[in-house]
Each structure stands twice: as structure tokens, then as C-alpha cells.
């Protein structure tokens, strides 16, 4: 660790991982309720489980991005963080608000929660992923603004690199597009249209900039490749992201009340959306091939390459599968969307956080060349468990989506939703099994933190 203020990243990483465990736990509970409707009912109805599951994901990714930023910004700018104290205060505020919100979901009926949290003053609740009570939403704004302020002030007094510029662009975009969460028109269609400005332009535009910046940083560190070279790749990737991702929002406007031209624009732009992810794979593998150093932390590079591959599969391939308008006519609102959602969030965003944590945590714990061989081996096992688990559950959800389409939407002998769901029960069972594998993988990952360092061995495969 070069700068002592990088240490503020540590609580962010640890809390993000704890939230991830909670997120997967609630995913598993949902998977069970899918099969046995009486499970946990009426104690925790499905909508509450789902809200906890998705909101934990969003919050853990924000914690992960913040941790990653606080770690990399001092090294990139070659100066201490502007205010480590502010970063720590923000951590506790955000953690407390996050926990309070989840407890609110679990212990207060949602309709009552809307009343208790002044939703009637400015109704923003009850929309997918943006279910947070007004005070939480305002809290998020506050936390994000103080975070961006901290980053920008640090960059102003230090070195400016392409990575810091791209990162800041992504963060400012994240903040700006979140503001649409406060705009809830009475017209459902108008409401949905602008809802996507937050949801899509987060995950398929601004967050991709953050992802690209973090990936580029880790690749510089573990491959030692010349920064000029890395910068060119980063620009190329985010150029493709912007060209495809912004107009790619159109793939959400096919069948929700927006005009017909989106059928063309959305299809064409989002057909290009896999490209930046494909470039990411080329980027990671080319940099690995051209590496100038043999870093002891091999597993960090494995995660980096894994991020590129899984992001391409989840966001690129699984996105493309149902993104063309004539196909989307049949897939819209089925489990295929859930399949894509799961693999892309995992592949792109959860994986980049694993990448950063696996690179930075050993350094923050005084092991500059990574954890011991034994710990890295265990981590590699967790890498495969989680990846195979996510791939398996994605395939299961895709199969479920296809059965849904055949049951409800194609041919003349159609059956209803509930009946179709019963015919999919076996597939949902398989999904739950793979979910369990992901959960076991995460605990294996946790276990790798507690492997004792052997005396005399510094670290890494080549140590």
C-alpha cells in the first residue's frame, strides 16, 4: 500500500461482501418460495424477498464501487485522499441507512412503510428496484455526492489519468441518472419511460465506465503493461459502450407504449452492445499475454479475465439473445429477462468487485504479492463454484423462459401463467440447486481470507 488513506477501502469491501451473502441468501429463499408457495408466507411475501434481494445487490455494488475507488484514486493521482474522514463518515451513514431500509422492508408492511416515510409528500416508492423510502433515496444522493466530491477534490490536487477521468465521468453519470428516481408522473407509460433513464443508463452506460476504469487499473497493476497501451483500450471499450449503450436503451421501449421507431433504433443499437464486452475479453487476454511482470497475486488476474468473459456472456450474449424486436415480442416479461439479469449483474459488476477485492485486500493486509498459494488455491475453487453456479442457474432460467413462451405465447393450445409455472417446477428445482452452489462458493471465498500464512513463503504461485 503506497498511501495510508487507501485503507478506507477496507470496510467498504468487507461490508459489500457481507451484503452479497445476504443477497444470495434472499435469492435462495425466493427460489424455494417459487416452488413451495407456503414457504415463509405470510411472514415474508415474495415481493418483500425480492425487494431485499435486488436492493441488497444495488447497495453492495455501490459499496464495492466506492471501496474500489477509494483504493485506486490515491494511487492514480499519486496523492492521499482529499478527506479519508469524510469517506469513513459516508461509510457509516450509508451502512446505517442501508440496514435500516432492509429492516423496514422486512418488518413493516410496504403500504405502511410508504406512510411512515413520507411517501405521500413525493411519491417515489413501489417501482421495481427503486422501492427505497424517500429518506433512503435522499440519503443515497447525499452519500453519492460526498463520495464524488471526495474523488474530484483528490483528482484536482493530484495527477490526472485517463482512468480517473473515465471513473469520474461514470460516477457523475451515476449521480445524474439517479435523479430520475424522483420523477414519478401519473401516467404509467411516461413513468416507465423515465424509470429506464435510471435503470438502463446505470447498468448499460455509466456503470460500464466505472467497470472499465477499475478493470484497466487492476490490469496495469498485475501485468505491468504500459499505461499508454491500456488507455487506448479503455477508450476504445467505452467508446463502443457509449455508441451502443445509450441508444440501446431503446430495447426497453419496444413494447411498453413508446413509438414504433424504437423497434428499429433499439434493435440496431443493442445489436452492437456485445461489442464493448468482446473488446474487454481481447483487452484482458492481450494484456495478460503482453505482461511485463509476473505478479504474485495470480488469482486477481484470473478474476479480471473472468470478469471480461462472464460480462460478455451475461451482458453481451444473453442480452443479444432477446434484444431484437421480433424476438423480444415473445421473450418480453419472461424468465429469459431474469436469466440475462442474473448473469450480467454477476459477470460484469459482482465479478469486477471480486477482482478488485482480490487484488487490493491482500495489499491492505500487508501482503503486496498476494495471499499464500494455499489461500489462492481455495479462492480459485470459489471462483469456479460461483461461475459454474451462476452459469447453471442462468441456463435453468433460460430454459424456464423458453417453456413459458411455448406454453403461453406460441401456437393455438395455450395454457395460463400459473399452469405453465407448474410445468416448469423441475427446472426451478435445478435453478435452486445451482444457487446453492453459488452460495457455497461465496463461503469458500470467505474461507480463503482465513487461511493462515505459512512462515517463509511470501506469496503467489511463483514466490
Amino acid at each position: 500500500m503506497k498511501y495510508s488513506s487507501q485503507m478506507v477501502a477496507k470496510p467498504y469491501f468487507i461490508f459489500a461482501l457481507i451484503l452479497l451473502a445476504g443477497e444470495i441468501l434472499f435469492g435462495l429463499l425466493m427460489a424455494i418460495q417459487y416452488l413451495y408457495g407456503d414457504f415463509l408466507f405470510p411472514l415474508i411475501p415474495f415481493n418483500v424477498l425480492r425487494m431485499v434481494h435486488t436492493n441488497l445487490l444495488i447497495v453492495l455494488l455501490l459499496f464495492g464501487f466506492m471501496g474500489a475507488t477509494y483504493y485506486l484514486i490515491p494511487e492514480e493521482t499519486e496523492t492521499e485522499l482529499w478527506s479519508p474522514k469524510l469517506a469513513i463518515i459516508t461509510f457509516w451513514v450509508f451502512a446505517a441507512a442501508g440496514v435500516a431500509t432492509i429492516l423496514g422492508y422486512l418488518f413493516v408492511p410496504y403500504a405502511q412503510l410508504t406512510e411512515l416515510t413520507f411517501n405521500n409528500l413525493l411519491p417515489t416508492m413501489g417501482r421495481e428496484f427503486l422501492e427505497q423510502p424517500l429518506p433512503t433515496k435522499l440519503g443515497i444522493v447525499l452519500v453519492v455526492v460526498s463520495y464524488i466530491l471526495n474523488v474530484i477534490m483528490t483528482v484536482i490536487k493530484g495527477r490526472k489519468t485517463v482512468i480517473t477521468t473515465v471513473l469520474i465521468t461514470g460516477l457523475v453519470g451515476l449521480a445524474v441518472f439517479f435523479l430520475f428516481a424522483f420523477y414519478v408522473p401519473h401516467n404509467l407509460i411516461m413513468d416507465k419511460f423515465f424509470w429506464w433513464f435510471t435503470v438502463h443508463l446505470w447498468v448499460e452506460a455509466t456503470w460500464e465506465l466505472i467497470l472499465g476504469a477499475i478493470l484497466a487499473f487492476v490490469l496495469i497493476k498485475v501485468t505491468g503493461v504500459d499505461r499508454e497501451h491500456i488507455d487506448k483500450w479503455l477508450y476504445l471499450i467505452i467508446a463502443m459502450t457509449m455508441l451502443s449503450g445509450i441508444l440501446g436503451t431503446g430495447h426497453h421501449f419496444f413494447y411498453m407504449g413508446a413509438p414504433e421507431y424504437w423497434l428499429w433504433i433499439g434493435s440496431i443499437a443493442s445489436a452492437v452492445e456485445p461489442l464493448p464486452f468482446f473488446l474487454m475479453i481481447l483487452f484482458a487476454y492481450t494484456m495478460t499475454r503482453e505482461r511485463k511482470i509476473q505478479h504474485g497475486n495470480k488469482i486477481a488476474l484470473t478474476w479480471a479475465k473472468g470478469t471480461a468473459v462472464m460480462a460478455f456472456l451475461g451482458a453481451g450474449v444473453w442480452g443479444f439473445i432477446h434484444t431484437l424486436a421480433p424476438v423480444n415480442m415473445f421473450t418480453h416479461g419472461t424468465q429469459l429477462t431474469a436469466a440475462h439479469g442474473h448473469l450480467s449483474f454477476f459477470g460484469a459488476y459482482v465479478m469486477i468487485i471480486f477482482t478488485m477485492v482480490s487484488y487490493a485486500m491482500p495489499i491492505l493486509r500487508g501482503r503486496p504479492q498476494g495471499n499464500s498459494q494455499k489461500a489462492q488455491n481455495l479462492e480459485l475453487a470459489s471462483f469456479w463454484m460461483m461461475n459454474i453456479g451462476m452459469m447453471g442457474l442462468t441456463l435453468a432460467l433460460s430454459a424456464a423462459g423458453i417453456v413459458q413462451i411455448l406454453d403461453q405465447r406460441v401456437g393455438t393450445e395455450l395454457i395460463g401463467f400459473m399452469e405453465s409455472q407448474e410445468s416448469i417446477a423441475g427446472i426451478y428445482m435445478i435453478r435452486a440447486g445451482f444457487g446453492l452452489l453459488v452460495f457455497a462458493g461465496l463461503f469458500t471465498y470467505f474461507a480463503s481470507f482465513f487461511v493462515k500464512e505459512e512462515a517463509g513463503q511470501t506469496a503467489g504461485y511463483n514466490a
Binding site: Y34, F46, E128, N187, Y235, P259
Partner: protein, 148 residues
């Protein structure tokens, strides 16, 4: 292929391409905002429809159902529930909704459960009006079948 591209070229594609995409997106957004009131029959959006939407949100209905294809996949699509359960007859649909909402949760063992929301008769009517209004939105011929 990337050898022939220099860093400054890549940078220009990023700024130029990004700005270009953003401008087109902005222009189309303006046009869409102009068209949505007509496509969604905003003139028929009565106070009851607006109240129904608020109830839809306050009870987090989208946490289980999809509406116009968006939401959770635990329970049926509701954009065309008016046609499916009410045969496009407002009176029939409203009385169906009163019975259905009152009967929740159904006591079929291990069937997925819908909670009892304890809505008043008027609130259930608001919800019905909201769903009837939604069913008439021009969503480019989606959903493909009545089973949604």
C-alpha cells in the same frame, strides 16, 4: 485490428460517438414524450386511474407481477388481465376484481400466495380502473396472446 488505432483516435471516437449518441437519444426522447399521451390515451386517465396507480405502487404489486412486461415473474402479467378475466367488460371485470381481492390469500396448499391487502371497495375499483386504462395502451401489439 487495434494496432492501427491510436490512443487519440480511440479518445475521439469516445467523445464524438458518445456526444452523437446522446444527442440522438435526446431528440428522440422529446418526440417520445410528445407521443406518449396520445398512445396511452391520457385523456381517459381519470382521478380513479391515478389513484389506482398509486395503490399499485403503495402495495408494491410490481414485486410479484409484471405490467406491460416489466416487473417480477412470480405472478401473471396484468396489462391484459382485463381481457383475460373480464372479457373486456368493465362491469364484469370490476366485480371479478372485488371477489378476487377479497378471497386472498387462497388456501390451496403450496400454491403461490397473494397477500390480503385489505383494500376498500372503492380502492379495488380504483385498481380496476387503472388496469382497464393500462390494457388500452398502444404497446405495439404486445402482449402476443391473451395468456400474456
Amino acid at each position: 485490428m487495434t494496432e492501427r488505432i491510436t490512443k487519440s483516435m480511440a479518445k475521439n471516437i469516445y467523445y464524438g460517438g458518445g456526444t452523437f449518441a446522446l444527442l440522438i437519444f435526446l431528440a428522440l426522447t422529446f418526440d417520445t414524450v410528445k407521443q406518449i399521451p396520445h398512445r396511452s390515451n391520457e385523456v381517459n386517465m381519470t382521478a380513479s386511474v391515478v389513484a389506482g396507480k398509486k395503490l399499485w405502487e403503495d402495495n408494491n404489486c410490481v414485486g410479484c407481477h409484471t405490467i406491460v412486461g416489466e416487473g417480477a415473474y412470480y405472478a401473471p402479467e396484468l396489462m391484459n388481465v382485463f381481457q383475460r378475466r373480464g372479457a373486456s367488460d368493465e362491469g364484469a371485470f370490476k366485480s371479478y376484481m372485488q371477489g378476487w381481492m377479497a378471497a386472498q390469500p387462497l388456501d390451496t396448499p403450496n400454491r403461490r400466495k397473494m397477500p390480503q391487502f385489505n383494500l376498500s371497495k372503492e380502492e379495488v375499483d380504483n385498481l380496476s380502473d387503472f388496469l382497464i386504462w393500462t390494457s388500452k395502451v398502444n404497446a405495439n401489439d404486445w402482449p402476443p396472446t391473451i395468456e400474456g
